[in-house]
């Protein structure tokens, strides 16, 4: 008997964007729009009762400005998965008669079938035949706002004992016709679909609870782009953020150095980071205000980045000066289950990853651990790190809950800075360390534990809210020498020149709450409707910190004390946000945010001046308190004159809290205020191409920059930035994705501190470019994948390739110097076959010696030589050419 099968008329059902009850809506013409009355959901939509479908909703194409994550009151565009390749199942030789098997297939974002379950059985023979066939199918993946997402499809297989009539236009070819399926290029129309709802498509997607893409400089970076180019560690995903640079400048155990849109954010002072809803920035950190160490990130569980450049969302709080990066965690369907991955590469780098994500669990539910050990490139860069992240979403109906826990520790040596002239003269190699105890003693230690619990409410009528509590413990210690031998003890008389090895210790205990509620839509008149959101964030931090000078040659003997302080800080923030549609073309969002911050600082070395006054004249110490209020409006307007075009404009006033230790008693807390404006366009031509461009201007009332002599940030006065960002996301072919961004910025100092007796030659003068910030940042990410062999041992063999390129124009340095241009090329090649994945990644393929950071200051690294007192260029070396081979298995 010939093999016979056909696919009945295919009927697609799309999950309605209802939360909780998860009603089904009949597929409309692509793209599918959610019924207006449906509330958003951030969880996978589940199939259920057809009675709640609303087929009569008018079709409305989503505007480009409201792409995924962008608009809480409009449903995102959904494109259904399409079967593009498949082999007809064999009619079982021992079977008899007719049978219909309905399988539920899970299709990943690459279009592969990663699991099949028998939903309706027709007996073991038919079931097995259907499953065997289904596992080899390739789909054009479902897309949400043009980006591929995983989906679950209910697919019927009808086995007939004799050759059926010729299939319909949407059906397969007969088995005689090479068994290759030519299934519909697009979902069938509802008229055809409605009577025979055998095939159901359940698109996994998230519906934002609130508008997040408000300006032209707001971006969503999805998993597909995140995985396109190779990355050495989880935090490298930040390089995908348009205009952002991220480099390891102080070893594995110290936070990356970031810059964005002309802001030298150092270790996070100008960037608000959230991971899974947990705030990462640490106020009043000894190593830099807003210190944000993202080393704990595990790349395999970074699901998406929501980037808000500038200030336009009332939810943006402290440190949202250059913008906010909200990192979502989750595991896609393809990698759910038990995933083990081991890798080994250059410089004896070993990495072990393990994660577990229940296959039927929510995308956000997983547990992952990672351990990394490396000898480090060059000298004095050995280190280890270990991270664990667990997240679980549970509950159903209107209320769901999410728990997240993050643990991280790392310790690593650090080679520190090198004088450029020493490298050029051949005195030291590019990736080496000064052969001095004070230089070789540089290292860092990081320990962090965070946990949060969040309850999310999603009402039937769009109203939604969330409430969360979180707690965090962070300990940091570093030993770093930037200046060699130039310090004199302030504590011990006549002691000097023992090496400027600065020890910094910082312990922060934090607890916080967060809550917000958005109302259902008000409709005061025809064509005008919108919502109001009220929210609050509050946190309490206790910080203990010290800064000392150590003698690295004598068992870290302390030879000077610079800081010994404790700080308690409280931040209570509230915000309101109106989000209104004004007709069919205009959307306006207006809000305000206010933060009250109070501090108590106990500076145990305050008033300590042994060389001036007798020590018994007073007891050293300076305790004081201060409080201030930061209030700022946030607004954005979006105009959609054409279906493919959005014009966006936004303005906001944000703030950065001060270092409490710099405050005087009773001082009105001098917030660094930022005025940030953007105007731009977002254009989207269907699926293949999305372009956005924005011009921006920001002005900061009081900026800070790195001071090498203290190893921390110091005030540099008012600054301004203006520039342009271009971003393009392309799916020109169904097997590739391209992300490109270009950011140009002109950043200048307006009002640096004047010369003083203590600083007669300030490195910063009015009008000069802000140091350490590249005026031009270009980033390209390219990913491609396709099936090499469709059936190799019963499984397809798929290859992948990725490319990442970063270009930074020379960074301005103090004293009129300019750094080098930097071009970095990374690439990867990978194969996946069944449960196995093999990948070879190469980094810095051009093998350029590049500075991860550049500074200009006075240093003296020859303890027997005459000291230089003229500022000189210093670099910390970036990683040279390296390779990494990894093998993974997903069970």
């Amino acid at each position: 008997m010939k093999t016979k099968w056909r696919v009945s008329r295919i009927v697609l059902q799309v999950a309605g964007w209802t939360w909780g009850c998860g009603s089904w809506a009949w597929a409309q013409e692509h793209p599918v729009e959610a019924p207006d009355s449906v509330a958003p959901s951030s969880e996978e939509v589940q199939a259920s009762d057809e009675s709640q479908t609303q087929p009569g909703e008018p079709e409305q194409e989503a505007p480009p400005g409201s792409s995924e994550g962008g608009d809480a009151s409009r449903a995102p565009q959904i494109e259904l998965p399409r079967l593009i390749q498949g082999v007809a199942p064999e009619y079982p030789a021992q079977a008899q008669g007719e049978g219909q098997v309905i399988l539920v297939l899970t299709i990943d974002s690459q279009g592969r079938v990663v699991s099949s379950e028998v939903h309706e059985s027709a007996g073991a023979l038919f079931d097995a035949a259907a499953q065997d066939a289904a596992r080899s199918y390739r789909f054009e993946p479902a897309r949400r706002e043009g980006l591929p997402v995983s989906a679950r499809v209910r697919m019927p297989f009808l086995f007939l004992p004799e050759l059926p009539p010729a299939p319909s236009a949407t059906g397969p070819k007969s088995a005689d016709q090479e068994k290759e399926l030519e299934l519909p290029g697009a979902p069938v129309e509802p008229e055809k679909a409605r009577p025979d709802p055998h095939l159901e498509v359940n698109v996994h997607g998230e519906r934002p609870l609130r508008t997040t893409r408000r300006g032209a400089s707001d971006f969503m970076v999805h998993r597909e782009v995140i995985t396109a180019a190779p990355r050495q560690e989880g935090a490298d995903v930040l390089r995908l953020v348009p205009g952002l640079t991220s480099f390891r400048t102080e070893g594995l155990a110290v936070a990356h150095s970031y810059s964005l849109r002309g802001f030298d954010s150092a270790h996070g002072q100008d960037l608000e980071f959230l991971v899974g809803g947990l705030p990462i920035n640490l106020p009043n950190h000894i190593h830099g205000q807003g210190y944000a160490d993202l080393s704990f990130l595990i790349g395999e569980v970074v699901d998406e980045l929501h980037v808000s450049e500038g200030v336009s969302d009332p939810k943006q709080g402290d440190f949202a000066v250059a913008g906010t990066i909200d990192i979502g965690l989750g595991v896609d369907q393809e990698h759910r289950g038990l995933q083990l991955k081991s890798g080994y590469g250059s410089f004896q780098t070993f990495r072990q990853h393990a994660s577990w994500a229940p296959r039927e669990g929510h995308r956000e539910s997983f547990g992952a651990i990672q351990y990394t050990k490396t000898a480090g490139f060059g000298e004095n860069r050995a280190g280890q790190s270990a991270s664990g992240i667990v997240q679980h979403r549970f509950g159903s109906g209107a209320l769901t809950y999410r728990f997240i826990g993050i643990a991280h520790t790392a310790r690593a040596d650090h080679a520190g800075v090198l004088r450029r002239e020493d490298i050029e003269s051949g005195e030291i190699c590019y990736h080496c360390v000064y052969q001095l105890p004070t230089a070789r003693a540089q290292n860092g230690l990081a320990q962090r534990l965070m946990a949060g619990f969040f309850a999310d409410y999603r009402g039937r009528s769009h109203e939604n809210g969330s409430l969360g509590v979180w707690i965090s413990h962070d300990h940091f210690r570093s030993q770093q020498n930037f200046t060699g031998f130039s310090e004199t003890s302030r504590t011990l008389a006549l002691v000097s020149g023992r090496g400027d090895l600065i020890e910094q210790r910082n312990t922060t205990h934090s607890v916080g709450i967060t809550g917000r509620y958005r109302t259902e839509a008000f409709k005061p008149m025809e064509g005008v409707h919108g919502t109001l959101e009220l929210g609050t964030n509050a946190r309490f931090d206790v910080v203990h910190q010290q800064q000392n000078l150590l003698d690295g040659a004598v068992r870290n003997q302390t030879w000077d004390r610079r800081v010994d302080a404790s700080i308690s800080g409280m931040d209570v923030g509230v915000f309101g946000d109106l989000d209104w549609e004004l007709g069919s073309m205009v959307r306006a969002r207006v809000g305000v945010r206010a933060d009250a911050l109070s501090y108590e600082a106990e500076d145990r070395l305050g008033n300590f001046a042994p060389t001036v006054r007798p020590q018994d004249a007073f007891i050293p110490g300076y305790r004081r308190s201060a409080m201030g209020l930061a209030v700022g409006p946030r607004a954005s307007v979006e105009v959609r004159p054409l279906p493919w075009l959005s014009v966006l404009s936004s303005y906001g006033e944000g703030y950065r809290s001060p270092q409490a230790r710099t405050l005087a008693d009773g001082e009105k807390t001098p917030f660094t205020k930022v005025h940030s404006g953007d105007v731009g366009v977002r254009m989207r031509w269907g699926e293949p191409l999305e372009l956005s461009s924005a011009a921006f201007y920001t002005r900061l009332s009081d900026d800070i920059a790195f001071d090498a002599s203290e190893g921390r940030m110091e005030r540099i006065g008012a600054t301004q930035r203006m520039g342009l960002t271009l971003h393009a996301l392309s799916h020109l072919t169904d097997w590739s994705v391209t992300s490109f961004s270009l950011t140009y910025v002109s950043a200048t100092l307006l009002e640096p501190p004047p010369a003083s007796a203590e600083e007669p030659a300030p490195p910063f003068v009015a009008g000069q470019r802000i140091p350490y910030v590249s005026p031009l940042v270009i980033r390209l990410d390219q990913g491609a994948h396709t099936t090499l062999v469709s059936d190799w041992g019963g499984k397809p063999l798929v290859w992948r390739a990725g490319l990442g390129f970063t270009f930074l124009a020379g960074r301005p340095l103090p004293f009129g110097q300019v750094g080098d241009n930097i071009g970095l090329l990374d690439a990867s090649l990978g194969l996946s076959w069944g449960v196995f994945e093999l990948a070879l990644e190469g980094f810095n393929l051009l093998n350029r010696n590049y500075p991860a950071s550049e500074y200009q200051f006075v240093s003296h690294w020859d303890p027997k030589g005459v000291p230089s007192r003229v500022p000189s260029r210093h670099i910390t070396a970036g990683a040279p050419l390296s390779f990494f081979l990894s093998l993974g298995v997903t069970l």
Binding site: S756, A757, A761, A766, K864
Partner: protein, 356 residues
């Protein structure tokens, strides 16, 4: 009247804004009487930007094209404006460094009876720092320019001698400091002796000449080591511009060289003649005194007299009859000279500007 924003107007606006910012900064938080700013504005693009392009007309036939046009104009204007002007402050600077001596008179008269002649005056000079503040020393952690080497200077030669390059950045210098070839370091208990000082026999300065007492003369020589004394001054140059000395110079790309000119005669001029000649008697209580050319040994009995001139010698206080004078490091004359070399009349700093 239609205003056209050219590069010049944008730069002018930037300069005005900067002046205002400076004024505010000085008003609010000035901690020093004068700010040291050197701003140069270089505009390298001549594109002009017409703000009329930025205006969006109220009535437009096509909203999309209008928005596209206005948006493009705004973006181009912003981009162009940002590109067209670069305000820079300090720039790297390298100057030729010369040293120069001064011919001295045949004799420097210290008193009616005593004169000194100088036939050799060599000093180890360097390192040299030009500082941005009015006070050098501890407050010159960051220098404007520096020359970290040392060289032997013939202080009697009026010829300019090129010794190296001063490296640093543009800006105003208000003070200087230097060593005489022996430099104190924060990292060492003992100062570092430069090759130049070693060339002079571990000395900072070598002076030699003749002492003329009336018509009689004898040769004299001094080898002086000038270094930072004590721990409190460790790491600081030994010669620093005093606060009373006026000194300032705007270092720019037009500055070509610096010549440091020493005048040894000034070092000798203040030496007390009593160091070389005295008319004393035994009532001073000393064991030996000079009565002009006569050496008097004071004993409990009758003083013993010896006329030094008979043997072509002179009587030098503290030494008696001698035919040559080797001044010790801690001799009174050496202390005087050290004082003159470190805190006396400073050398002359001569900046030469390029001719445009």
């Amino acid at each position: 009247m239609k205003t056209v924003h050219t590069v010049e107007t944008i730069c002018a606006a930037l300069r005005a804004e900067e002046r205002e910012a400076n004024a505010n900064a000085n008003k609010i938080r000035a901690r020093s009487s004068k700010r040291e700013l050197s701003i140069s504005v270089s505009c390298f693009s001549k594109n002009s930007i017409n703000p009329s392009e930025l205006r969006c007309k109220r009535k437009a036939p096509d909203a999309a094209s209008l928005l596209r046009k206005c948006g493009t104009a705004a973006l181009l204007s912003l981009f162009g404006g940002a590109l067209s002007c670069t305000v820079s402050a300090q720039e790297p600077l390298e100057l030729d460094l010369y040293v120069q001596g001064t011919e001295v008179p045949d004799r420097v008269q210290l008193s009616d009876e005593v004169a000194l002649s100088l036939e050799r005056a060599e000093l180890a000079f360097g390192p040299l720092y030009l500082c941005p503040g009015r006070q050098a020393g501890d407050l010159c952690d960051t220098a404007r320019m520096e020359w970290t080497e040392a060289a032997v200077v013939d202080a009697l030669s009026p010829e300019r001698q090129h010794v190296g390059q001063l490296l640093g950045a543009t800006g105003t210098t208000y003070s200087w400091m230097y060593d005489y070839g022996v430099t104190s370091l924060l990292t060492q208990l003992q100062p570092v002796v430069s090759p130049a000082a070693r060339e002079l026999g571990q000395a900072s300065v070598v002076l030699a000449g003749s002492v003329w007492v009336e018509s009689q003369s004898i040769p004299w020589e001094l080898r002086l080591l000038i270094q930072q004394e004590g721990d409190s001054g460790r790491g600081v140059s030994v010669v620093r511009k005093s606060q009373n000395t006026r000194f300032s110079h705007e270092l720019s790309q037009n500055t070509e060289s610096l010549t440091v000119r020493f005048d040894p005669s000034s070092w000798l001029a203040e030496l007390p003649a009593e160091l070389f000649y005295e008319q004393a008697d035994c009532s001073s209580g000393r064991a030996q005194v000079c009565e002009g050319f006569v050496e008097v040994s004071c004993t409990e009995d009758e003083p013993v007299r010896r006329d030094c001139s008979e043997s072509g010698q002179v009587c030098v206080p503290g030494q008696g009859c001698t035919d040559s004078l080797l001044l010790e490091q801690n001799s009174t004359a050496a202390i005087y000279l050290k004082q003159e070399l470190t805190a006396g009349e400073p050398p002359e700093f001569i900046f030469r500007e390029r001719q445009n």
